[in-house]
């Protein structure tokens, strides 16, 4: 069968790329379990199994210079961003060669200069405002960037999530938040976290668009997230994407997940993202048995090499514990300007310091001021648009939630708080 029509076409090479990253994530996960059983993993081990499509398909929708911040089950996103299995292996084994040199474990690492990855912390929600700031900072510098992070169903219960989403929305930041609804927050089912069937509905409270996608269908994940990413890049503000998926293991290795009904695991096992994608690739004649075997062999070879590399890396020297609390010139702080700096310096940056009030906020919203504060800049809508000027025409995706329509309306909150143009 020929490939189905895709809004964002993927080449055969890209389709196989998606498979490679998903399968690599799965095999790496299973390798880590073996190391855990050999007592070579220091601390807890967190599995991505079941969520490979959700992590890989989303990260794959970004441009190389875009920024991500992974959560614990987004190893696939780190691989797409160019980190290698050895990095994750050494993190879990606390080796000196790991990206943190043994200072931290798991997916708690990043790379500001090259890969544009911000390290997560264990406290959920804080990454939402941080990645909003990365987006605001990049936009300020004139970059056409998008930032992305993931958060679980449980993480959307935090205050930091709400503050971050509200700030991103009010700042119109080029930011995509992927809510990975994997049904379980440690042992608590999503129904006890949130009295909502769809976490995407949270977007309505921020007046931003949202999507819901089948998180175990990597092509759907890519198509949906790519649309969200394009919207954010065009200057349409942040987008929330809910990925319906399932955490197929316990919270960590110690947790047998006995609180999950076996039938629920069975339901999701039948929808395993890798098996589904293998069948899809076969059905659409993207690959044959030979190609599949070649990818499997490549992954096996790479994992073997990386495991040897990781195991040969020693534990860090004790004195490393005392080093690096402060940056004392070991890093240079560099901003990558993609606009003239004169635009943000007086006299060009100067504005009249006054709000433009376009609605008096009465019950019917019909009392409009006859005169508004004088504007010195082009248009009130033009300010934080990712430097791209006016937003492009609206998408017409059926999957979009009502939040999208709300955002299109020039509601008072946005109009009143919208800064005037760049002057």
């Amino acid at each position: 069968m020929a490939l189905p029509e895709m809004k964002y076409p993927l080449s055969r090479e890209q389709l196989l790329d998606l498979y490679y990253y998903m399968k690599l994530t799965r095999e790496l996960d299973e390798q880590l379990v073996r190391l855990f059983r050999q007592n070579k993993v220091v601390g807890g081990l967190y599995s991505s199994i079941g969520q490979e499509a959700s992590a890989v398909g989303t990260a794959y929708s970004l441009e190389p210079d875009d920024w991500i911040a992974p959560m614990i089950r987004n190893v696939g996103g780190l691989l797409v961003k160019g980190f290698r299995p050895r990095d994750i292996l050494m993190q879990y084994m606390a080796r000196s060669g790991s990206p943190t040199g043994g200072k931290d474990g798991t997916s708690h690492f990043g790379d500001i200069k090259k890969r544009h990855v911000v390290s997560p912390i264990s406290m959920l929600g804080d990454l939402i405002p941080v990645m909003t700031g990365v987006a605001m900072g990049g936009r300020y510098l004139g970059q056409k960037l998008v930032t992305m992070t993931w958060i679980g169903d449980g993480g959307t219960s935090t205050g930091a999530f709400h503050e971050g989403m509200n700030l991103a929305a009010s700042q119109h930041a080029p930011f995509v938040c992927v809510v990975e609804n994997n049904q379980w927050a440690y042992s608590t089912p999503v129904s006890r976290q949130v009295p909502l069937k769809n976490l995407a509905d949270r977007a309505r409270a921020y007046g931003i668009p949202s999507f819901i996608m089948d998180g175990n269908d990597v092509v759907a994940v890519y198509q949906t997230t790519r649309q969200a990413v394009d919207m954010a890049r065009r200057g349409e503000g942040p987008v929330l994407v809910e990925s319906k998926t399932m955490r197929m293991k316990g919270h960590a290795q110690h947790d047998p997940a006995a609180y999950v009904p076996p039938e629920m695991f069975a339901y999701w096992k039948a929808r395993d993202p890798i098996h589904r994608y293998e069948a899809w690739l076969t059905e659409h004649e993207v690959w044959d048995k030979k190609t599949q075997a070649e990818i499997a062999a490549r992954i096996e070879r790479e994992l073997k090499e990386d495991l040897e590399f990781a195991e040969s890396s020693p534990l860090p020297k004790p004195e490393v514990a005392e080093q690096g609390v402060y940056c004392e010139g070991c890093h240079t702080i560099e901003a990558h300007w993609e606009r003239p700096q004169a635009e943000v310096q007086p006299p060009k940056s100067s504005v009249e310091a006054a709000w433009t009030v376009t609605d008096y906020g009465g019950l019917n919203g019909d009392a409009k001021p006859t005169a508004v504060a004088p504007t010195t800049a082009a248009t009130p809508e033009a300010a934080p648009t990712n430097g791209a000027g006016a937003p492009a025409a609206a998408e017409t995706a059926k999957s979009r939630s009502a939040g999208q329509r709300a955002a299109k309306a020039k509601h008072p909150a946005r109009a009143a708080s919208q800064p005037k143009g760049r002057g």
């Binding site: 500001i112 405002p129 909003t132 990049g138 700042q171 940056c327 310096q345 007086p346 300010a383």
Partner: protein, 324 residues
């Protein structure tokens, strides 16, 4: 040149750094059109525009987090807390995100979070606190706390240029009460260096912030009694100028620590331990401290007066120490 108040000196520092370096941006609540609750950022929106003076929703976790994110882009954001008490609402971003970022994964966070602190203005339990030790106790952060207009400007400029997250505590009682002529030429004050405000031979008073003024006033009174106190203004609490304190104690052999922070867990304990470890043989008497009470900051004037260290408390402690 006309004398400049502390809050004007802070505005000068922000203005000069923004002029010098377009990566410096301001973020906070009501800092733009309104110019900040204490007018520290007044006029800066008009000059530098909406993109560099960013008014946010009421969300300290949000705005501190966004400032951290901007710093990863190579910017040098300065976040204002309307009152420093509200930094508690963004505590996790400070102590778990910003503080540990460089140590954990080599992600430097060139960020300043500044705001008005301290009592004496009847602000009550939520507008008067001195939260410096929350942050001194979080490795990776730096903490500055000026007592003069000159230092407020010079320290803030250094903090903005520093590659690490710096908490800048500005005593609101001093904002418009201290003023001095500032040099017309560019200057900075290095982080981590104390200032000897008054030389003396009989005892050392180590202090900072508004208590530097109380301590200097106490020292004048003590001088009339023939007790010459050396007053050290710590200026930076982390990293602490331990050597500067030791040097003074080696000269006077007696140490009194005065701070407006509450007593238990205040920096007096850390300083006493340091002097015990490094200069015990030089001590001729016990290390004493004058601090606020171990209570929330109370509202009513007589209660707040009891809470705060008074000049008489300092002279009393100094006289007791001088007897050794």
């Amino acid at each position: 040149m006309a004398p400049v108040t502390m809050v004007e000196a802070i505005r000068e520092a922000l203005d000069e750094e923004m002029q010098r370096d377009p990566t410096v941006v301001l973020i906070g609540e009501d800092i733009g059109v309104y110019g900040g609750a204490f007018k520290a950022t007044e006029g800066l929106l008009a000059k530098y525009g909406w993109e560099r003076v960013i008014d946010t929703p009421i969300s300290e976790t949000g705005l501190i987090g966004a400032a951290i994110g901007m710093s990863y882009q190579g910017l040098r954001p300065v976040a204002e807390m309307q009152f420093i008490d509200f930094i508690a609402c963004g505590f996790n971003q400070m102590v778990n995100f910003a503080a540990k970022s460089h140590y954990r994964w080599g992600g430097p966070v060139p960020l300043v979070v500044r705001g008005p602190c301290g009592g004496g203005v009847h602000g009550g339990p939520f507008h008067s606190q001195n939260p410096e030790m929350w942050f001194v106790h979080a490795p990776g952060l730096k903490v500055i706390y000026p007592s003069t207009a000159y230092d407020a400007k010079g320290l803030l400029k250094s903090a903005i240029r520093d590659n690490n997250p710096v908490v800048c505590l500005e005593h609101k009682f001093l904002y418009r009460r201290v003023k001095e002529e500032l040099p017309s030429e560019e200057y900075t004050v290095p982080l981590g260096k104390l200032a000897v405000r008054r030389p003396g031979r009989d005892l050392t008073i180590a202090t900072y912030g508004a208590m530097a003024l109380n301590s200097l006033e106490a020292a004048e009174e003590l001088a009339k009694e023939g007790i010459e106190a050396e007053v050290l203004d710590l200026r930076t609490l982390m990293p602490l100028d331990r050597q500067g304190i030791i040097d003074s104690v080696r000269k006077t052999n007696k140490l009194l620590v005065v701070h407006e922070d509450v007593r238990s867990g205040g920096i007096a304990g850390e300083i006493a331990a340091t002097v015990n470890e490094q200069a015990f043989e030089d001590l001729d008497g016990p290390i004493l401290r004058v601090t606020s009470l171990d209570t929330p900051v109370p509202f009513a004037p007589p209660l707040e007066e009891r809470f705060l260290p008074q000049v008489a408390d300092i002279t009393r402690a100094a006289r007791e120490l001088a007897r050794y």
